[in-house]
Symmetry: C2
Subunit: 124 residues, 2 copies
Amino acid sequence: MLKVKSRMDDVCEVHFIDERKAKAVKRLMKPERTIYNLAETFAALGDPTRLKIIFALFKEELCVCDIAHLLCISTSAVSHQLRILRNLRLVKYHKAGRIAYYSLDDEHIGQIFNEGLKHVEEKR
Amino acid sequence: MLKVKSRMDDVCEVHFIDERKAKAVKRLMKPERTIYNLAETFAALGDPTRLKIIFALFKEELCVCDIAHLLCISTSAVSHQLRILRNLRLVKYHKAGRIAYYSLDDEHIGQIFNEGLKHVEEKR
DNA sequence: TGTACACTTGAACAACTGTTCACATATCTT
DNA sequence: AAGATATGTGAACAGTTGTTCAAGTGTACA
């Protein structure tokens, strides 16, 4: 499983310039748990193999071995990555006999992918 | 610098179920370089510390030591993370004397953050 | 000039990651 | 039933990550 480190104590001894701004942001800051889950989700998207899988499933519902064939990697590697994506509810699947058909779990994933694409394509 | 592994040979010996679908997706697949850059960007968002920095800068332009104060981590740690975000053009800064004021580099970052938030808040 | 401050950087470390390999499970076919 | 196929899983490995620490810039102010 993807793991991610975190911390947010309230004791802090670093000097500051403008405490008003810092406090205003602190009030708005999302709960530690939310930040953690969000980081885990982005980390899942932060690997080319998983990103290709996401992209592929964005276009077509596919089974494990077609994904493996498409990306030229072992079905084992695909299965490991799909488990990570499944646990984070980024993909879902349904079984037809021995074949597992995977697809994206919700429409946000596609949006995130596209916004990210705009960012990287704009910057070079 | 954030690094990310990648590969996309055209030789592949995995069995397949539906080659038509796989080929259709392959035609649409983004270039290796694009996927790689996108993965790097998402990986940068895949860490709670950097995510908190992004969130903070989404609300306010801030200097390094105010970010450190706000998140209760060393200015060194913040500076290291800001360099990663800077290199990926996720944040920019301007200097006023010895103080460096950081802010988000473009509007896509906020969009990505919000879409991600919708995903994680919807799923539990 | 010297001291303090704001920030940056390089090296080093433990912790985490993605892949491979070997094996396990489950389902279909003959 | 046996064998082939599709997928899942645990262990192990090299490679990568984020933090800390120590030392470095450059700017401000007395």
